[in-house]
């Protein structure tokens, strides 16, 4: 589904990603872990098309298409979804109107007819249950005055509404208490099918107790330096990132 080859990206001339290689197939869950500043969020942003980042080398194909040449909205319509680390508060834009506009633009792109108000509300009610989100929240302006946990739940709710093929969750777990984490994870797990894939970007192993990954990759200094299964995450939890840093840094100096 997603194929990243030798991806290099920089921001304002500073290289952040220095040769990422990653293959994600339908039905898989990949966790990308790593110390702060290793480039995890940059990778998520580059895949979603954030303009501040410049791709200097490499390629990304998504279902056979060159993802990098698409605008952020076309990537979303193609089925890439980024759950933001910091969801944006947008006063004056109602959550419901925003979602209906988004859902219908995505549907139009996929050759489906637009949902009328009734069908949209029916769909919304069904998906709201997934993340136990309150109708009251959705009658407010988008994310405005939401708590941290509510914002993250709203991200997963939007994901459920847009039915993406590839979901990238950028530190969706950070700042959540156990109860909220369970709700969010439960939503993600229910949305998982054999046809879609998930990339979890996280600093902590804790999330992986609830969403079990097929693969775990460690990102350090803009490269994937170690890949393994969920056991790797447990090892990181126990030993921290320092042993990996040392391993890589000493190898580099040799």
């Amino acid at each position: 589904m997603l194929s990243i080859k030798n991806l290099h990206a920089s921001i304002e001339g500073t290289p952040i990603l220095r040769g990422i290689n990653l293959e994600v197939k339908a039905g898989e869950v990949h966790a990308i872990m790593g110390p702060n500043g290793s480039g995890k969020s940059t990778l998520a942003s580059v895949l979603a098309g954030r303009e501040e980042y410049e791709v200097t080398e490499g390629e990304v194909t998504f279902n056979g298409k060159n993802l990098l040449e698409y605008s952020p909205e076309v990537r979303a319509r193609e089925g890439v979804f980024l759950a933001f680390q910091y969801p944006v508060e947008i006063p004056g834009v109602s959550s419901t109107n925003f979602l209906r506009t988004a859902v219908n633009q995505v549907r139009e792109y996929r050759g489906l007819e637009a949902l009328d108000a009734v069908k949209f509300l029916t769909l919304m009610k069904a998906k709201m249950k997934l993340v136990e989100i309150d109708q009251k929240l959705l009658s407010r302006s988008l994310n405005e005055g939401f708590s941290g946990g509510e914002k993250k739940r709203n991200e997963i709710f939007q994901m459920a509404m847009l039915d993406p093929k590839l979901s990238i969750l950028d530190e969706t777990d950070s700042g959540l208490d156990i109860d909220a984490l369970k709700i969010v994870s439960n939503g993600v797990n229910q949305l998982k099918t054999k046809d879609n894939a998930t990339i979890l970007v996280t600093h902590y192993q804790r999330l992986l107790d609830y969403i079990v990954p097929d693969y775990v990759h460690v990102l350090y200094k803009g490269r994937i330096v170690k890949s393994g299964t969920k056991e790797l995450a447990l090892e990181l939890e126990e030993k921290g990132y320092d042993w990996i840093k040392e391993e890589i840094d000493s190898a580099a100096t040799v």
């Binding site: 952020p72 933001f84 834009v93 633009q105 847009l162």
Partner: protein, 422 residues
């Protein structure tokens, strides 16, 4: 030099005044002659070189006379969806025959109301244009809302303007509301031809005790339209006054709005939205004067500026020594859509009382890129995402228009603009 020549030319208007009010006119003329037109660097007109603009556009300043208006013209000029009563003005002169007779409302020509204390609220010494109007306006009206009357329907003040090259229109209105009166006034101007037009308007509003007034204005004129307005109100105790000004087009517009809060437990609210493109220049100077204790004012002006347009905001808040427990809030936010658009914003707070809550803030920036990316990342196209964000920004002002048909009409104008132009 040109300033002097212009002053003489415009000042010539004072040689042909309308009927009555000789004392008021003479003192205003004296003040105007002493002050003259605002000089290039005059503090109050620092960013709005109105004198120069008038010099270029209004080449032969004579006062416009009323032209013939018929019912069909009135009908076609009223904004879509309006439900209420209409007062029609032709080149600034009231036309009773074409206006609705409004039960409970008395309307008289100023020339028949020689005891009306014009200039006692909007004082001529405060502003040269206010003085010019007082010295030379041809005819105005007095609108009286009797005690305890609530006008259920809004009153549309419809200015129909059609002048030949360079004429000046000077409306003059005195509104007095008795105790416990309530009313909504909507001001709409329709320019019937593209000739350069200068409107110099003065509206004075004298509220009673426990009066509740709304004043809405839509400024949506042609490229050669210049306007200076002075609107000033005295607010007595237990009263509210709400002003909303929506400015969409024109050449150069200067709005002076002053609220004098003279009674306690009163509230003055001022909202403004300016959505500018081309070379349109809109300057809002507001002034709220808290004179007694326990009153509140809220102010929110927002601007979206494209092309070479310019916005000016100056918000004065005075809190006098006796005005303890005053709450005064002011906010001015601007979005610049072009590198050539300019905003000059200046809050000016003078507070002598010590137990008050006052705040002010202003921001000028580009569209929030992070918010834009967020919407795009959900599949919403860039243009539409921009439109959504800009509309959300503007909506915060529009929602203060309580009259639904007028709000709907303004909303549509704003949406059309944000969808097409920006």
């Amino acid at each position: 030099m040109s300033t002097l020549i212009k002053q003489d030319k415009i000042g010539g208007l004072t040689d042909h005044p309308g009927i009555g009010f000789e004392l008021a006119r003479n003192s205003a003329k004296e003040i105007f002659n002493q002050q003259g037109m605002p000089a290039l660097k005059a503090e109050e007109y620092k960013f709005t070189s109105i004198t120069k603009k008038l010099d270029q556009i209004i080449t032969d300043p004579t006062q416009a006379k009323a032209f013939e208006v018929n019912a069909n013209l009135v009908k076609s000029a009223i904004f879509e969806g309006f439900e209420g009563d209409i007062l029609v003005f032709s080149n600034g002169i009231y036309q009773p025959a074409l206006s609705d007779k409004i039960e409970d409302l008395t309307i008289s020509f100023l020339s028949e109301k020689s005891d009306c204390p014009i200039g006692s609220i909007a004082k001529p010494e405060k502003d040269a244009f206010c003085a010019l109007n007082q010295a030379s306006f041809h005819e105005g009206i007095v609108i009286s809302i009797p005690k305890k009357v609530k006008l259920e329907r809004p009153v549309l003040i419809l200015f129909l303007n059609a002048v030949s090259e360079g004429q000046v229109i000077q409306p003059r209105i005195w509104i007095e509301a008795g105790d416990f009166a309530e009313a909504t006034f909507i001001e709409q101007t329709v320019q019937l031809n593209g000739s350069p037009t200068f409107v110099n308007k003065v509206i004075e509003v004298k509220g009673g005790i426990n009066t509740h007034l709304h004043h809405y204005r839509l400024q949506h004129e042609g490229k050669n339209y210049i306007e200076v307005s002075n609107i000033e109100t005295d607010i007595q105790k237990d009263s509210t006054f709400n002003s909303v000004v929506i400015s969409l087009s024109g050449d150069m517009i200067r709005n002076n709005l002053t609220l004098n809060i003279l009674g306690s437990n009163s509230e003055g609210n001022m909202y403004g939205l300016y959505l500018l493109d081309g070379k349109t220049h809109v300057d809002n100077h507001t002034n709220v004067d808290h004179i007694v204790a326990h009153s509140e004012s809220n102010e929110l002006y927002k601007g979206i500026l494209a092309d070479h347009s310019r916005g000016v905001f100056n918000g004065k808040i005075f809190v006098r020594q006796d005005a303890q427990k005053t709450n005064a809030f002011q906010q001015n936010n601007n979005i610049l859509l072009s590198d050539d658009a300019v905003v000059n914003t200046k809050p000016q707070l003078e507070i002598w009382a010590d137990d008050v809550k006052c705040s002010h803030g202003c921001t000028t920036g580009q569209l929030d890129e992070e918010a834009l990316f967020y919407l795009q990342a959900r599949g919403i196209g860039k243009l539409q995402a921009k439109g959504l964000l800009l509309y959300a920004f503007a909506g915060e002002v529009l929602e203060h228009i309580a009259d639904e048909p007028f709000r709907t009409y303004c909303t549509k104008l704003v949406e059309d603009r944000l969808g097409s132009k920006f």
